[in-house]
């Protein structure tokens, strides 16, 4: 009798443990959310963002549009933790973690990624060596300096397969990072990194700018292959082309450091066709600030 009781208790405990594990995993797999509240950012003495609100969930595509100088790239840099872009007010938060407290390396390990508008050159550093280091750190966020990297063979296979998927020449892996790359090659390099790092939140800062239409198509298709239920995407763009392949759930319009309108994919289409004149009319206060800012810089 006593033995039966012990056995029953043991089974119940077992079940409870299994249930708890299940719940913990479910919790972990819950959709992450990047929450930006009332974000103010300045560069030097100049305030650029003046209270941005934005929420991006995993699996959503957001387009961010707006005239030059409205603060789109500033938002991208501030989210990634560029030291020159100082948050003076407001918060950036992922599932209760205060992102603003983290340096860019910690943000990357938390699952953030920025495809740069102007990727820098790192001479002498091979793409493959850099990527192996990067994905080891991002996938094992607790890795300490000097601890082993991902096994070479496993990495090479993954890199080869990913490059194939993106129609990239394997020769890329042996070149020095962005050294002597054409504009299109640099942007594809960003997409390759996106594919390898598999972030939860990807920020694409004018990834389509400066490219001819074939290159834009390649990059757009690449992004379309990669985004899915596990990735929240913020696409900063002037053009519509990138959005044809990656139809946004939301389109935001930025003017003078604020998001002044949010709509669906048709808003992007409308802005592309008609420009920002109507937006300025609907938001005279921000339009006036924009005007003042432009005069100040001239």
């Amino acid at each position: 009798m006593r033995e039966i009781v012990v056995e029953v208790i043991a089974r119940v405990v077992d079940d409870l443990l299994r249930l708890r594990k299940h719940l913990v995993e479910a919790d972990f797999e819950m959709n992450s959310k990047l929450k930006i509240e009332n974000l103010h950012v300045q560069v030097g003495e100049t305030p650029i963002l003046k209270g941005v609100h934005l929420e991006i969930s995993q699996g959503e595509i957001h387009a961010l549009m707006g005239p030059n100088g409205s603060g789109k790239s500033t938002l991208a840099y501030a989210l990634m933790g560029h030291p020159k872009y100082v948050v003076t007010q407001g918060s950036i938060d992922i599932d209760g973690i205060d992102v603003n407290e983290l340096d860019p390396c910690q943000r990357a390990r938390l699952g953030m990624f920025l495809a740069f508008q102007y990727p820098v050159t790192i001479p002498g550093v091979k793409v493959a060596d850099f990527l192996r280091h990067a994905i080891t750190n991002v996938r094992t966020p607790d890795r300490k300096e000097g601890e082993p990297l991902m096994p070479m063979k496993e990495f090479r296979i993954e890199l080869r397969d990913t490059m194939k998927q993106l129609n990239m020449d394997p020769e890329f892996a042996r070149r020095y990072l962005n050294d002597g790359f054409s504009g299109g090659e640099k942007k594809r390099m960003e997409i390759l990194q996106l594919a390898m790092l598999k972030p939860r939140f990807a920020l694409l800062d004018e990834t389509d700018s400066g490219l001819d239409s074939d290159a834009v198509r390649v990059v757009s298709e690449g992004l379309a292959k990669l985004s899915g239920p596990d990735m929240g995407v913020l696409i900063i763009t002037h053009h519509e082309r990138l959005l044809e392949y990656n139809i946004p759930n939301y389109t935001h319009v930025m003017l003078a450091g604020k998001i002044v309108e949010t709509g669906d994919a048709s808003l992007a289409h409308d802005l592309h066709a008609n420009g920002y004149a109507e937006v300025r009319k609907r938001h005279p206060e921000e339009a006036a600030q924009e005007q003042k800012q432009q005069e100040a810089t001239v």
Binding site: H82, K84, D103, C105, G124, F130
Partner: protein
């Protein structure tokens, strides 16, 4: 006997890991400090040298005394020639087996990884400890082919004709104050002869170790690569970390005959209390090739400008130089290329990295003699400065006496850009991993010229230098 780790090993900055020293109690001979004719005669006598060599030494001492200290390059004002031991002999014999090398010394070389390297990828090794070579080996097959790899003292005894034909002909004592000093008190070093047509598959290596405080090491190396032969020679250097200074002043002379090739790789990693003042010169004859690969990571002050004289048409010279200067270090390094014949080519690539207040200077000369038409020379020097306290300067000298020549000089100075750090960090690298990656990339064009084993060693040394350097 005990091997103790020096207390003042500087672990905080770049962690110099060869700063330990051994006991000197059982040394065979230690000279008194200071330099005069009596000391020079005593060295000569102890070595049982012929009269001509003793006279050569004494004449060199006179030249040394007459020549003023150089007033260019680095700060030599703290160097006191009377506070130095000029001849220190730790062991009475040179051994052919590591088992016979005194235990204390053998342990040091074990820690430096020399016997291990010898087994894996070297054709021969010379280990110089203080003033004398304590261990020597050469692959048996090479010896049968007529290859000579011995210490310079033995060469004077065993190969007097070959020795006298070349010794002091490329770098006479009158060349400069430190060449005169070396000529007066030289001891140890390598003597190599590669017969015509013999190509060495694996490098020969010499390893120089200073152990005594205030020691002066003055090795003398002479290399002759005969027609159509080839050699890769590698030297490494370390010393204990002491609070007072030691002096290393070597002379290296190399002759590359018609169609021969010689590559001389130095990985200098002296501790930060060593003055490293070295004269190196090679003469290259028709269609021959000389390459200096010069890595300067250690020392308090290095002044070294390996030279190549291109003597006949088709001769080529190349110098690849890496300097790393950290706290209290000045690397004044560079290269000299002298075109003495038509259709000769030279290339100098210099890369320097400075941090924590270190200073690196590139000092180079490209000279084209009258009649040396159709010469080509290409000089590239790049400096990477890691913080505002550090300094880099460039002194390129060009002397041309012909019009039909092609000379190119490019120089660049860069800092690690904030944007580069941001880019790498945004991919999950820490700030110090990112800086180390940028530095490694900066020197990569040179590192890839090194044989794999040395490339790995060099990268490891640079990473060590970088460790803890970023707050």
């Amino acid at each position: 006997m005990s091997t103790d780790i020096a207390d003042n090993t500087d672990v905080g900055v770049g962690a110099y890991q060869y700063g330990f020293h051994d006991s000197t109690d059982n040394y065979a001979f230690t000279s008194r400090k200071g330099l005069d004719a009596e000391m020079v005669s005593q060295i000569s006598e102890m070595k049982g040298e012929p009269d001509w060599m003793r006279e050569f030494r004494l004449r060199s001492l006179e030249i040394f005394d007459q020549k003023p200290m150089p007033n260019w390059g680095g700060d030599l004002s703290h160097l006191d020639f009377q506070d130095i031991y000029y001849y220190v002999k730790a062991s009475d014999h040179q051994e052919k087996s590591w088992d016979d090398v005194p235990e204390e010394i053998r342990k040091t070389y074990d820690r430096l990884g020399i016997p291990e390297a010898e087994k894996k990828y070297l054709s021969g090794v010379k280990a110089q400890y203080e003033s004398e070579v304590v261990y020597g080996s050469l692959d048996g097959d090479l010896a049968k082919l007529g290859v000579i790899f011995t210490d310079t003292v033995s060469a004077l005894r065993d190969h007097p004709e070959l020795f006298r034909k070349y010794f002091g002909t490329l770098i006479p004592p009158s060349d400069n104050k430190f060449a005169a000093l070396n000529s007066a008190v030289w001891s140890g070093g390598s003597f190599i002869y590669i017969p015509p047509g013999v190509n060495l598959e694996f490098p020969l290596q010499a390893y120089f170790r200073i152990n005594t405080e205030n020691m002066g090491q003055f090795e003398r190396t002479l290399i002759i690569v005969d027609e159509g032969a080839s050699l890769h020679y590698v030297e490494g250097c370390t010393a204990p970390t002491y609070s007072s200074d030691s002096l290393h002043s070597a002379v290296v002379e190399i002759v590359v005959n018609k169609g021969g090739r010689c590559r001389y790789t130095t990985i200098q990693n002296w501790s930060n209390n060593v003055y490293n003042l070295v004269t190196k010169r090679a003469m290259v004859y028709q269609d021959g090739l000389m390459e200096w690969i010069d890595g300067n990571l250690g020392s308090r002050l290095t002044m070294k400008y390996p030279a190549i004289y291109l003597m006949e048409p088709g001769a080529r010279g190349e110098t690849l130089s890496i300097a790393f200067a950290s706290k209290d270090q000045h690397q004044d390094a560079g290269a000299k290329m002298v075109h003495c014949a038509p259709n000769t080519t030279s290339r100098i690539i210099s890369k320097s990295i400075t941090k924590d207040g270190g200073r690196a200077s590139y000092r180079g000369l490209v000279k084209v003699e009258k009649g040396a038409v159709n010469c080509k020379s290409n000089v590239i020097c790049d400096a990477l400065i890691l913080d505002p306290q550090s300094q880099s300067d460039t002194y390129p000298y060009i002397e041309i006496e012909e019009s039909d020549v092609t000379i190119e000089h490019e120089a660049s100075v860069s800092k690690i850009a904030e944007e580069q750090l941001l880019y790498l960090m945004s991919r999950g690298l820490t700030e110090s991993e990112a800086s180390a990656m940028i530095v490694t990339g900066f020197v990569e064009p040179l590192i890839k010229e090194l044989p794999m084993e040395y490339a790995v060693e060099m990268n490891r040394l640079i990473e060590l230098q970088m460790e803890g350097s970023v707050g």
